[in-house]
Amino acid sequence: MKLPTMQDVPDHPQHLQTSGIFTPEVIEDIQVKAELGRYRIRGFGTLRERRWATFDDLTFIPCTLTRIPLEGYRERCSTKTTLGTRFAKKPVELDIPVMITGMSWGALSYHAKVALAKGAAMVGSSNTTGDGGMLMAERESSRTLVYEVLPSRYGIDVHHLKMADAIELTIGQGAKPGTGGLLLGSKVSDTIARQRDLPIGVDQRSPARHPDFLGPDDMIIKIEELREATEWKVPLFVKMGATRVFDDVKLAAKAGADVIVVDGMEGGTGASVDICQEHTGIPTLAAMCEARAALEDVKLYGEVQLIIAGGIRNGVDAAKAMALGADAVYIGTAALISLNCNKPLHVEDYRKLGTEPYHCHHCHTGRCPVGITTQDPELMKRLDIEEGAHRVANLLKAMTSEIQVLARACGKANVHDLEPEDLRALTLEASMVCGIPLAGTNRVFGGGPGWSERHAPPGER
């Protein structure tokens, strides 16, 4: 009898077997690094499927019989937002609680910066400078302009500082806390190089630390310097990437911040080390809850205003953040998407980058097909400033109206009156993070530091 050989054994499986460890993405990542010899760099922010608690895990519980709603499309519901009431002589007064976050002229094109400024101004909101200093056209187009003082101090100019409506001392960014920015050589054009005092075409790695202070005690003096330079007129924001939020927020408040900006791990970036975007920082929802608890812990909640940032997509995310205690939200990526980021236009140029519309995260290349994250004059022209500004304004209006719809349904004549009691958690994890009862129960499972004592229903504390 002839024994069967290996060739005779049928081996034509119906289904391909993929390794759960070495997935196609992991195999590609290893092979890309085997070519590069360094960490990978890209833009946009985390691309991971979110398996952590997010704003989507909360739901509003509007008025029924125990509470009376406002007429959703008619009755007044104020959206006025005031920031910087603690020490500044002239707090920032905005018509809406949705603001445009700092994105640098360098990461973004001139057209994008000016369109964002004009769009925000049209609806009485603010925009922020970014790593690379103030663009004059941006100042002239803004109603309220926040001037960022970053570790790199690129383009730092005392005259610009004095033109600002608020100052934001940036310690870190949610997408990449603990690291500085990156601007690859393709975007360091002669204009950008001149603005930043850098050689043309360098792969520029911004510092992660401020050059003239290190810890929270030195920051007290730094804040005093910025206030002295601006005669204590404008509010001083401190912005941080979300890591040890409960401690960091208290330190920033102690250092004398008027407003604290907490940027969660879902925040975007023009270019950063890929693994930092995916594996550092804590999610925006968790950061929000820790930040409020921290301010309550030092009895400064309400006196120090809170801005939350990091992956805010719409009025629902914003309304939930506000119900949890934010005074305002920052948007960045969402604002760029309103300028046509990832829209199926010039599809052939997305393909040249090895990507497709709706999937592009190639901000770092400087070859943005829709003229937003580029310094190429031809690509930049694809973004019409006036049309872009209208779309930014429309998005801000739409988000504001979404916040108002929810606030009115919850019986609030002011969007700032939204409160944790208006929310229920849809998952156990969200309940644990937020200290909000799981829907269908009146129990709080877990809760952040100092949180459940204050917000759990009576009898559950």
Binding site: L36, G37, R38, Y39, S152, R153, Y154, I156, D157, V158, H159, L161, K162, G185, R196, D197, L198, P199, G201, V202, D203, P207, P211, D212, F213, D218, I221, K222, E224, E225, E228, A229, T230, E231, W232
Partner: protein
């Protein structure tokens, strides 16, 4: 001459008095009893003369554009940080990060400067009569840093287009820092700086000039390059 007594006054009160004098056209202002206060003479935007009698704390003359400030004692961290233009003279020593992120003007420290003098500087000149601490010139982008004495470790680390000159011993060069022979133009610049600011103290200027070494960026960190792995593994 406008005289302001710092005794019993807060930083805010002293700075307000200085700014008020500046706005009224005073061109010579003296603050007595500085008491080591932080943030004195911040954001002065006119070419006035300000004398600070005593020592000062952090960020003295920070964010300024144009003044001529003299500190008779020593200065704390971040002396004249982000200065656009002006001349800041410190008779004593300077703390960490003197001239951090400065964009123009000149800082003259007669004594020593601590760590990170000229960190992230974007222009202007820093002249240190004595020694400097570690990481002086770190990430300096443009401008000139002159150290007449010795430097600490990691000198001129990760620089762009700034130039450093050292009259004494270099403790250790930082990443991508390389020594170059000073050009005739460099020597002329050094001679004029030293004779102008330390003229009376310096003997044998010509002989001392010959000892100066120039340090610039090797430009190996300007662009990512896997072939330079030895350099990059420190810097990445």
């Amino acid at each position: 001459m406008v005289e302001i007594d710092g005794e019993g006054r807060t930083t805010r009160e002293i700075n307000s008095a200085v700014q008020e004098a500046v706005s009224h056209g005073a061109d010579d202002i003296r603050v007595r009893n500085t008491g080591g206060r932080h943030n004195l003479g911040v954001a002065i935007l006119r070419p006035v003369r300000l004398t600070l009698d005593g020592s000062v704390g952090y960020y003295c003359a920070g964010l300024s554009d144009g003044p001529s400030v003299e500190v008779s004692g020593s200065a704390g961290w971040g002396l004249a940080e982000s200065m656009m233009n002006g001349m800041i003279t410190v008779r004593g020593h300077a703390g960490n990060g003197a001239g951090a992120a400065m964009r123009g003007g000149i800082i003259v420290v007669h004594g020593d400067a601590a760590a990170r003098a000229g960190v992230s500087m974007k222009g202007g000149t820093i002249l240190i009569g004595g020694n400097c601490g570690y990481m002086a010139g770190f990430m300096a982008q443009k401008g000139v840093l002159v150290v007449c004495g010795d430097t600490g470790e990691a000198f001129a680390d990760s620089m762009y287009e700034a130039a450093c000159f050292v009259g004494g011993k270099i403790g250790e060069l930082g990443n991508d820092a390389v020594i170059e022979k000073p050009s005739p133009d460099d020597l002329e610049l050094l001679e004029s700086l030293l004779s102008k600011h330390f003229g009376r103290k310096l003997k044998n200027l010509k002989a001392r000039l010959r000892a100066f070494q120039k340090v610039v960026a090797g430009r190996k960190l300007w662009n990512f390059d896997k072939r330079e792995w030895k350099t990059w593994k420190e810097a990445l």
